[in-house]
Symmetry: C2
Subunit: 439 residues, 2 copies
């Protein structure tokens, strides 16, 4: 049977979330959560692969244009179904020398490669009849190592070291898979903490989070210190002393400001400070970590495996926050999971946005089964927005992600949702743009 | 008189340079040198501002799309003519929170901001009747400091420190301007060293470079060690012992490979090793610098001022290689010049490509007059390609850049060159694409 990629559709999909200030923080005050979305079509019984990048509005068209440049690497080529083909595709997309110039391996072009790589994983896992986490966890250590691009990593992690890590985790795979299916994977929620929410909404949502079984919440900070102290104190009162409250500055500070601000918040026992400064600033994160008592987390805007490598080499972070759609897809995130395991640093993914929870749960679950072998001090972010647009949305039960059983990467958006939110010609946007013109 | 930006034209311009292997190196084997080009039109007596990003072919359309997203920040707004307005424009373009998500401050979106910022500088300098280097060098230290975004820099350089540096250089400005106009600024040439050239062409071009007055040349390395040794030995014989031969690996190696390779080349006395590894790898560059005897240079792919800051903090480089069109324009390069001056590291710009020599000469000349105050151990790269397409091309005399006297940023491409090379509908490409189809 011929198995060929026959189609490559790209959509600019945007949700008008800025109207409710969902997702508002100290740096991102009016986001319209968006996805540059790609669908790989095949001649294999109608099987499709779905992938996307997450953006916050303007520029989503640039992402769509970047994804378009990758079309010729897919259409007319065999469907990548195994580790060898998925490794080759990832290398081809990130090593296209003309496109690499636009990064290299960062920003728009790198995220576009990630969307396409992830779509290929969605397709391959569907054809294998497994959710991505289980498809990955069924690969041999050698196959997993072959998926990784070790270029620029070998001063921190060699292929042999990666193989040894994966082999050490091999014996417990079956048992951990069972436990994962029975218990799920711990989650924390950011839903109470957006900066645009008033105090009453913050307290109400914090109380609801505890009632729903979450043992960790997160608040946005960094716009005003007095506000942050008041909000953190209110949240602490609402949830009690046993619940972890992480705080997130979304890159707001320079090193000295981060140190000073976090010393002021430390009495309210924040669990971690996330993105205290520029995601490019490895040495800055190390200085922040050394200069104040709160643990440091970052990663949602870290451009690639080379920067993650350095954050680990420099003892700059206590938690690695991978994002499923910022780097070049499953393959590069596997490299980051391996680096974190080598350095013994827990991975606590960034999620939220559009479909990021759906994707990243697979990576953490795979990490538990086949890489780190642990859920200790590990939590996946959960935000309760926009899941209704997905065909296989995440399921949260008692503060845990329930392991998905549907084949694929949980990445398929519902056709009606896509049609309604295409920018600018979908009906959701036509109504708004017409209203603006009338104003 | 009303002074408003009234027009914002964007062009996808490509040159079929891959046919001659000009620009070929260990990572970029078949570049088609390209520019995503923006023209700001005004109602001010027909004055225009010209700016661009440089790419090597595919993806130039993505850059053009990224530049397009910035249109609304310019059109209908007052023409930015002074430090206050040029500082405000730069901040507005790089702090647009929705677009910032696509970086932040790196890759496609950041280069697009740079193209537009540089076009604004071209326009402002023209209206001031000065070349950009002199327009900048005529600003007060306070005005120059106001152009910089110190966010994420203050652990290495505060506004007060920058002000002190600029004030210390103030007394000699007039004398250095005279010397610059009389003597020019030292250049080195990469023209002999492209990997796609055979040994005869290498030797011939190296001899010509010395005859033309250059005291430094550069060779591409990194594809094959035996070839590199042979080529470096040939070049050394051709130019003699008194000429500096820099080598450039274009990010080819991991840390250990870079150390090993450069130890093997060291007997042939290479002057610097450029881009030994990933431009994101601050700690890697520091390890390469510590592990072998050759000086280390990097910067043409360094994403932003935050990474340059760390390269300096970590003692990772001997030379800072700014690029006029990789970061967010004149303003961000001013930050990098100030950082380099603070750390006492010479700036030796990357150039070549399309129009990069034309732009970056202004920054080095300004640096000499008003920031570092020195030309010692400083050279601007020169490549003798594609200058014929510019209205005010660089002039090289006896191995030196002659200081431009035409108002603006030397960024204007000739209308006929633009029309011929628009991709894909310009005649140069129509002929090629038709020939490909016929094949």
């Amino acid at each position: 049977m011929s198995q060929t990629v026959t189609d490559f559709e790209v959509h600019d999909i945007r949700f008008p979330t800025s109207e409710q200030l969902d997702g508002s923080d100290a740096m991102n005050t009016d986001p319209d959560y968006s996805a540059a979305y790609v669908v790989l079509g095949t001649d294999t019984g109608g099987a499709q692969g779905h992938g996307f990048c997450f953006t916050i509005g303007r520029g989503n068209d640039v992402m769509a244009a970047a994804i378009e440049t990758l079309r010729t690497h897919l259409v007319g080529r065999p469907v990548p179904r195994d580790a060898a083909a998925l490794g080759a595709l990832y290398r081809e997309l990130t090593h296209d020398s003309q496109l690499r110039w636009l990064g290299p391996e960062k920003g728009v072009m790198h995220m576009a490669a990630g969307a396409v790589v992830n779509a290929a994983w969605d397709l391959a896992a569907k054809l294998a009849g497994q959710p991505v986490w289980q498809f990955l966890a069924g690969m041999t250590p050698q196959e997993l190592v072959s998926l990784v691009d070790f270029r620029y990593l070998t001063d921190a992690l060699t292929p042999d070291e990666a193989l040894a890590l994966l082999r050490a985790a091999e014996p417990g795979r079956a048992e951990r898979t069972e436990r994962l299916l029975a218990e799920g994977y711990p989650a924390y929620t950011t839903s109470p903490g957006w900066l645009g929410y008033d105090d009453d909404k913050l307290v109400r949502l914090a109380e609801e989070a505890v009632a729903d079984g979450f043992t960790q919440i997160k608040l946005k900070v960094g716009a005003d210190l007095d506000d942050d102290i008041r909000r953190l104190a209110l949240a602490r009162t609402a949830v009690g002393p046993g619940i972890r409250i992480a705080v997130d500055a979304n890159q707001r500070w320079d090193v000295a400001a981060a140190v000073e601000w976090m010393r002021a918040l430390a009495p309210y026992d924040p669990y971690w400070i996330e993105e205290p400064t520029s995601p490019d600033d490895v040495l800055g994160h190390a200085a922040v970590r050394a200069g104040q008592p709160v643990k440091v987390a970052t990663g949602e805007h870290v451009a690639n495996r080379v920067v993650f490598k350095q954050l680990l080499q420099a003892d700059a972070v206590d938690f690695v926050q991978i994002d499923a759609a910022r780097v070049a897809g499953v393959n590069e995130n596997l490299a980051i999971l391996l680096l974190a395991a080598k350095y013994g640093v827990p991975v606590c993914p960034h999620a939220g946005g559009v479909g990021l929870c759906e994707l990243v749960q697979h990576l953490s679950m795979f990490d538990y089964v086949a890489v780190s072998g642990s859920r200790e001090d590990r939590v996946i972010e959960y935000v309760d927005h926009l899941h209704e647009h997905f065909a296989d949305p995440v399921v949260i039960r008692d503060g845990h992600y329930v392991a998905p059983r549907t084949p694929g990467f949980s990445a398929r958006m519902l056709p009606d949702s896509i049609a309604a939110h295409i920018y600018p010609r979908g009906p959701v946007w036509q109504a708004r743009l017409t209203a603006e013109e009338t104003h």
